[in-house]
């Protein structure tokens, strides 16, 4: 199950763990990503708290936790190849895996269809 946030993150849940990243729309808006400050493994976050920072040529942007939970894995490839986010934001460019502490929060997020509509309305 894949869900989207209004702050342009995605989460794809498999069991209790979800892969998190920024959306394709977000990477297009940011332009070339030059640096990803990955979160610490074990970090506990509430929904909406800053998960990590993504830096592009234009700016540094916070990435927010789409749901509450614990960081259990990070995509270390991004250390040397941050451009993976530009190439495949919603696949190989994933940022972290989170163990959900409150899966019901997923219901508050958008489906792919809803997110597309949200973006086409210009934010």
């Amino acid at each position: 199950m894949k869900r989207y946030t209004r702050t342009h993150e995605w989460i794809e849940v498999d069991g209790k763990v979800g892969r998190v990243g920024i959306t394709n729309y977000a990477q297009d808006q940011l332009g070339d990503i030059v640096f990803v400050e990955l979160p610490e493994i074990g970090k506990e976050l509430r929904k909406g708290e800053v998960l990590c920072t993504v830096e592009s040529v234009k700016s540094a942007s916070d990435v927010y936790a789409p749901v509450s939970g614990k960081v259990v894995e990070v995509n270390v490839d991004l250390d040397s190849q941050p451009e993976k986010i530009n190439k495949d934001a919603e696949g190989e460019g994933w940022i972290a895996k989170m163990e959900l502490s409150n899966p019901s929060e997923l219901d508050e997020l958008m489906t792919e269809e809803e997110y597309e509509k949200f973006c086409s309305q210009g934010e």
Partner: protein, 486 residues
């Protein structure tokens, strides 16, 4: 034009710029005078060139530069106004350049008087009660101001206030300075009109908030009309109000931050007060405070007692020094020269003309480029290249193409709340002809975007170097020449 060769690549063995005559003393070996372990084992790699070669090398480099003395420089948020040459002449007087900070106070009364008078004038302009001239530039001023705020709360025994509120349209230095002082930054979402949303502010204010950092007019060039209400809300919550002086040009001589309710103000002498900046500095970022914060100012401050100017170190609660010696003194001389030459009426005119110029451009440019918050603006405004995306063109392409027309591009991709932002600040020192030429060029470029987008995507083509690879510059920066790369 191809790649410019470095001075090292031009080096030819055996060539030199000058020949030193014999001293007449007997020649001694180096190891007789210096212990062997301190002597270099490899020769120093200095370029070998004749004097005219060196002069031509640097003169040619300087001709590739772009500055306010070459052309229009509408870099939004930076106030790239003309730097009057009178400032330069005065600041080069020997009485200013041949003194040293270790001289006895009695022998530098004139210099101290300059600093004192500048403090007095900045007080009058901003409506603040005290000033420090120490900080070296804007962000340094912010850092100093936020340290003062921190110390103020701690001195009251209030250690809860760990948060600083900052609008999402703020200068990036605001959150950075707050974080440097150990504060947690809380973002305030702007309202629909691009200004502070009072409901949002109320919801974020509590007894953990140390301050709200604001710039007025804000980065969209819009005046915060509710500033008095904002100040009351902040003060009622026990927090302080910080004024980022980057945009002071718009209100010079008209309104004072102190009267708006601000407790701490930093100024950029290199923006508002016409001292050079943009690779040319150095800058200066004086900080002004209200009476209740005086005791926390960095020491020393310049004071006057019994007919004599002196450095006052007697502030027991001071945050300490923030700079070696007394700040960028020569910059202060230039700023005071500017204030004195302009006079009160002149400074008012600065604000008027900077606002008039910006609105003239905004109105004309809105005919062919989208302006998201198209309201009466102050000294600057923000347009958007969003609508050009359908032609495959981004704001950066627009900006680069402006260089082919001989202009310095405006600030782009800031503030972050406008997509594809292009932020234009003409300042008061430009003529209508210059503004018209720029508007005409921008209009032509927007037409080019539709008819021949490659003209923009390949720009600039008329500059010493073409489009630089910004991504590679960030990912694999080469910060100095190492001698091994041709």
């Amino acid at each position: 034009m191809g790649r410019v060769r470095t001075v090292f690549e031009k080096s030819v063995d055996g060539r030199r710029g000058s020949s030193v005559p014999s001293s007449g003393f007997p020649k001694r070996d180096l190891d007789e005078m210096i212990p062997k372990k301190f002597i270099r084992s490899t020769p120093l790699n200095l370029p070998k060139l004749s004097e005219p070669e060196v002069v031509r090398h640097y003169t040619n480099l300087s001709r590739m530069n772009y500055s306010i003395d070459v052309g229009f420089y509408p870099l939004g948020s930076c106030t790239m106004k003309y730097n009057p040459k009178m400032n330069e002449i005065i600041s080069r007087f020997e009485g200013f350049t041949f003194i040293h900070p270790y001289q006895p106070e009695e022998s530098v009364q004139g210099a101290l008087r300059i600093m004192y008078e500048l403090q007095e004038k900045l007080k009058k302009i901003t409506g603040m009660d005290h000033f420090t001239l120490q900080p070296s530039a804007g962000a340094h001023g912010e850092f100093t101001g936020m340290l003062i705020i921190k110390k103020y709360h701690e001195d009251r025994g209030d250690f809860k206030r760990k948060k600083v509120l900052i609008p999402d349209s703020a200068h990036g230095t605001n959150p950075a300075s707050s974080a440097m002082c150990g504060f947690e930054v809380v973002e305030l979402k702007s309202g629909k009109d691009g200004r502070v949303d009072l409901a949002e502010l109320k919801s974020k204010l509590n007894d953990e908030v140390a301050a709200l950092m604001l710039t007025n007019p804000n980065t969209l060039g819009l005046y915060e009309k509710e500033i008095e209400k904002i100040a009351d809300l902040v003060h009622d919550a026990g927090a302080l109000l910080y004024y980022d002086g980057a945009n002071l040009n718009a209100i010079l001589g008209r309104i004072k931050p102190g009267d708006m309710g601000f407790d701490v103000v930093h100024l950029n002498l290199h923006k508002t007060f016409s001292t050079p900046h943009g690779m040319g500095g150095p800058g200066a970022g004086p900080v002004g405070v209200k009476e209740k914060l005086r005791d926390f100012l960095p020491v020393p401050i310049v004071d006057f007692k019994n007919g004599r100017f002196y450095l006052n170190y007697d502030l027991p609660k001071s945050i300490g020094r923030v700079r070696s010696f007394h700040g960028n003194f020569i910059v202060m001389v230039k700023a005071l020269a500017y204030v004195d030459f302009m006079g009160e009426e002149g400074l008012k005119k600065v604000a008027e003309l900077s606002v008039l110029n910006a609105n003239y451009m905004r109105k004309k440019i809105s005919e062919f480029l989208k302006i998201p918050y198209n309201d009466f603006c102050m000294h600057e405004f923000v347009a958007s290249g969003e609508e050009l995306k359908k032609y495959g063109v981004k704001t950066i392409d627009l900006a680069k193409r402006l260089m082919d027309y001989g202009f310095h591009p405006p600030t782009i991709y800031f503030p972050l709340i406008v997509h594809e932002a292009i932020m234009i600040e003409p300042t008061e020192t430009e003529t209508k002809e210059t503004l018209d030429n720029f508007i005409e060029a921008l209009k032509k470029i927007v037409e080019e975007a539709k008819s021949d987008p490659n003209l923009l995507k390949n720009a600039p083509t008329k500059t010493p170097v073409g489009r630089l690879d910004e991504v590679r510059a960030v990912r694999k920066p080469k910060l100095r020449w190492r001698g091994d790369d041709k």
